[in-house]
């Protein structure tokens, strides 16, 4: 299991090379989130986080996924700082014996880190810093299925 909170970019391919092999996994699922521009006027996202609490929260969520789906391995990488449109923000990877567990665990990780990991996003537009992104009710509701 590996958790990383970092400003630097990550290499998704390098992260999953040989991933899960040691744990006799039969399935690997990856998800990567990318900065998108819905308005045509956004240049970047700025992500603030709570150093210390972020690592603890991600570790707890990943440990729960490892135990609940008997994962062979799990990686969570989340960036902070200024990220341009098109840049990757975060990734999760899960390795399990079967695909259902790997998919479910990846979705669980995503749902939880969206509303339980202390990150805050602000849009940076062509005219400078804009609004903080509001949390969505649907993100909170997504936790209920777990």
């Amino acid at each position: 299991m590996r958790i990383s909170v970092q400003e630097a970019p990550f290499d998704l391919g390098a992260e999953i090379a040989g991933f899960g092999a040691a744990g006799n996994a039969g399935a690997v699922v990856t998800f990567s989130g990318i900065v998108r521009d819905d308005t045509g006027r956004m240049v970047a996202l700025e992500l603030e986080h709570y150093p210390g609490m972020t690592e603890k929260a991600l570790t707890r969520i990943a440990e729960e996924a490892m135990a609940r789906w008997s994962l062979a391995d799990c990686v969570v990488i989340h960036r902070y700082g200024r990220l341009a449109v098109g840049e990757p923000i975060m990734m999760v990877a899960t390795a399990a014996r079967h695909r259902k567990a790997a998919f479910e665990a990846a979705e669980f990780l995503m749902d939880y880190l969206k509303s339980r990991a202390p990150f805050w996003k602000r849009e940076i537009g062509v005219d400078g810093p804009g609004d903080w992104v509001d949390a969505k009710d649907t993100d909170e509701a997504a936790l209920n299925r777990w």
């Binding site: 210390g52 339980r116 949390a135």
Partner: protein, 82 residues
């Protein structure tokens, strides 16, 4: 004495990322009331508590929680990771 930290728009409205606060507040709600009575920038930041989350020593908590033994109180908006 407790260390109080703020993130995102709470940090911007209050104007500092962290501060040491001399307080005898028994709960988080008491601390919020104390700060809000102190200066308008706090009252503005804490005007809508439905939009504010709190962590005590880096664990998510709630406004009824006691402050006894707590070293760090963090206030921030609902999280938007992922």
């Amino acid at each position: 004495m407790v260390e109080v930290v703020y993130f995102a728009w709470l940090r911007e409205r209050i104007g500092v990322p962290r501060e040491r606060v001399e307080t005898g507040a028994a709960t988080v709600s008491d601390l919020v009331a104390e700060l809000s009575a102190r200066e308008p920038r706090y009252a503005a930041a804490f005007a809508d508590l439905a939009a504010v989350r709190v962590a005590l020593d880096q664990e998510l908590s709630d406004f009824d929680a006691p402050l006894a033994g707590v070293r760090e109180v963090a206030f921030f908006p609902p999280m938007t990771g992922g």
